[in-house]
Amino acid sequence: MAELIVISTLNGVLFGMLLFLLSSGLTVIFSMMGVLNFAHASFYMLGAFFGYQLTRWIGFWPALVIAPLLVGVVGMGVERYGLRNTHKHGHVAELLLTFGLAFAIEEIVSMIWGKSPVDYRVPAVLDFPAFTVFSTNYPAYKIFMLVVSVVIFIALLVTLKRTRVGLIVQAALTHPSMVGHLGHNVGRVFMLVFGVGSALAGLAGVIAGPSLVTQSDMAAYLGPILFVVIVFGGLGSLPGAFIASLLIGLIQTFAVALNGSLASVFGPLDPSLGPSPLTDIWNVTIAQIAPILPYLLLVLVLIFRPMGLLGTRES
């Protein structure tokens, strides 16, 4: 039990940090531009596949730098040539554009790399157990992922607090309607923010790819969870997104690790009852309901606290 708790906590924090790499960009983009970027998780997927391909061509370490940059360029292109032209048709059109992009990116990825998982491996230098908890070997690569995401997290903090663009972003988070009046070249700032957000998502993909499964449906799987994170944390709140990322990361990881069900706690139902929704619910394990937990959370939040954990605006 103690072993499960330690391992799951580590994994949960790790998954949470990865989620934050994505949700931070999504939150900032949403606050500044009013666009809920449906394709954000697709940039994460592109990061993973670019990382995989570049690793095969030139090795993991160059890929770690180049792949996120490439994704960032793709993101800037999307902002410059897509969103900016669609802006005049309103937010629904922008949302639809990113929806279409997410769809198209998934199709393109599965067209090029196929629908089954690709063989994206942990680089050899990091392929060893970092330490042993009780009887489980904890892989060094996961520690590396954790370090990278913490470093990025700190870099983000510093950027937000210390740089001019960071100040603009902060202003935009608190007073979204004022972005237009900032007097800076708003178009350039938007493109930059979108590019950086996409690059961060791409980076998350590059480092997560070897550890999780790199497959063409990974964006469709992660995208909705990201929305849950930013609604849960409170739309437009970075600290909220951070807490929600960790929380959902932990919940998901623990749920997957737990095999208990009502049947295992209270004993099996009388077999004479036959199959019914009750027996389904009775026998389902926590691990099996892990995928729906975020959505249950979303519904509960929207009912009981529509502004999310730390949001100021009612969503």
Partner: protein
């Protein structure tokens, strides 16, 4: 009526003409639905017509939300799928108890299923419009789709739940075994649903839905609660989506969790938006086109879904009014008789645009078939995916087509402006 201003003669004439046209259109539609299978009688086309009919109801129901009330849903398939499941369960129950309920009533059961779910979750969901509604609908969609895999006794797990449509009591000797009988069942429901949904747009509720779409804030100051309006719209959309789901269940004699999924929700969004949300007939066009392409393209290319994505992105960026919007834009010009001045520029623009589109297709197919697959056949010309000449051809078509098309479309815009000015002068354009 004495002190009311008498409507002008022209308006009165227009109105009576409108009523005549109104019944005429539905009559024509009814005749077309009856006659179609007599002209195209192969089994394949019957299947296609059936699917198109269902898609039409589904897309129209979606447009109650998107086009009429301004609600963008990413989970409309939930109501469709639940309607389908309820229909299957009721069909099985009817068959095993020998209840005297004929098959044509079953879609109504599906509708009730869709509406019941909307009744249940709709109040919370429709509190807000816009992005928030979009997100919640996505979340609910995922929730229901994943739950359906857990509640195996209700949803039948991966394989779904089957039924036998012929096991219900026959109606006037019809067992609904042959596809042609199923087609007429679907056609009947298409006509009834389409008329009902059109009628809904003309009611006070329908009108207020439009007002909520345009300006929910102001609606509160003319006596209406926009939340209630959205909730009602959501229930009606759920009802008709459920009818479509029930028909699908009858058509395939199965309901499975794919009916509820994100893919299905995405396709109804595509159909509706590509057809055009601003006019009632837009989603009909979209449903016909998308279903037809879906059926046709699957045999031609393995990446047909990508083409939908590309078409959809193109529509969002360049023609957000969809096909219906493009068509209706020309109406004032036709009335003013100035359309002729625009057509030559269209013809000129068509050539590079077509070249550009072919270039895109060639590029996509080259990538898709690079590591194996049949050779590409574009307008009868064979291309080999691995040949550099093919790549060059694609690049030339895409880049050249794009650059030239851009110039010609500017010409179109100029010609258009001139024609519109004339139309405005003649009073056909505001």
């Amino acid at each position: 009526m004495t002190n009311a201003p008498t409507p002008s003669l022209a308006a009165a004439k227009q109105e009576s003409g409108g009523a005549l046209g109104f019944y005429g259109v539905w009559l024509l539609a009814a005749i077309a639905l009856v006659v179609l299978p007599l002209i195209f009688s192969s089994g394949g086309s019957l299947t296609s017509f059936s699917l198109i009919g269902i898609a039409i109801i589904f897309a129209l129901s979606y447009n109650i939300l998107l086009g009429q009330t301004g609600l963008l849903s990413f989970g409309h398939a939930v109501q469709y799928g639940l309607g389908g499941f309820l229909a299957v369960h009721v069909m099985n129950a009817v068959a095993s108890h020998n209840w005297p309920i004929p098959l044509p009533v079953i879609p109504l059961v599906g509708g009730i299923g869709g509406m019941a779910f909307a009744l249940l979750v709709g109040w919370v969901m429709t509190k807000r419009a816009g992005t928030v509604f979009a997100m919640i609908s996505l979340g609910i969609g995922e929730l229901v789709a994943s739950s359906s895999l857990i509640l195996r006794s209700v949803f039948g797990g991966e394989s779904g739940i089957t039924t036998d449509r012929t096991s219900l009591m026959p109606l006037f000797g019809w067992t609904f075994g042959p596809q042609i009988q199923v087609y007429y069942l679907i056609a009947f429901w298409v006509l009834v649903s389409a008329i009902a949904m059109y009628a809904l747009t003309r009611t006070p509720l329908g009108r207020i839905c439009n007002a909520v779409r345009d300006n929910p804030e102001r609606v509160e100051f003319i006596g209406y609660d926009p939340h209630v309006v959205r909730y009602l719209a959501y229930m009606f959309a759920g009802f008709f989506a459920g009818i479509a789901g029930g028909l699908t269940a009858i058509n395939f004699e199965i309901a499975n969790s794919a009916y509820l999924g994100a893919m299905q929700s995405g396709f109804v969004l595509f159909s509706t938006f590509i057809g055009g949300t601003a006019y009632f007939f837009g989603p009909i066009l979209g449903a016909i086109l998308v279903t037809y392409l879906q059926l046709g393209l699957t045999n031609v290319t393995s990446v047909w879904q990508l083409y939908f994505g590309v078409i959809f992105i193109g529509i969002v960026m360049f023609a957000p009014g969809g096909i219906a919007g493009i068509l209706m834009k020309h109406r004032p010009l036709i009335r003013a008789g100035t359309l002729g001045t625009v057509i030559p520029s269209y013809l000129v623009a068509a050539i590079p645009t077509l070249a550009f589109a072919l270039g895109i297709i060639l590029a996509i197919e080259t990538v898709a078939r690079f590591s194996g697959g049949d050779p590409i056949n574009l307008l009868g010309i064979p291309f080999v995916a691995t040949a550099p000449t093919t790549w060059a051809a694609a690049a030339v078509l895409v880049v050249g087509g794009f650059l030239i098309a851009r110039i010609t479309w500017r010409r179109v815009a100029e010609a258009w402006d001139r024609a519109a000015t004339v139309a405005r002068d003649r009073g056909y354009l505001a």
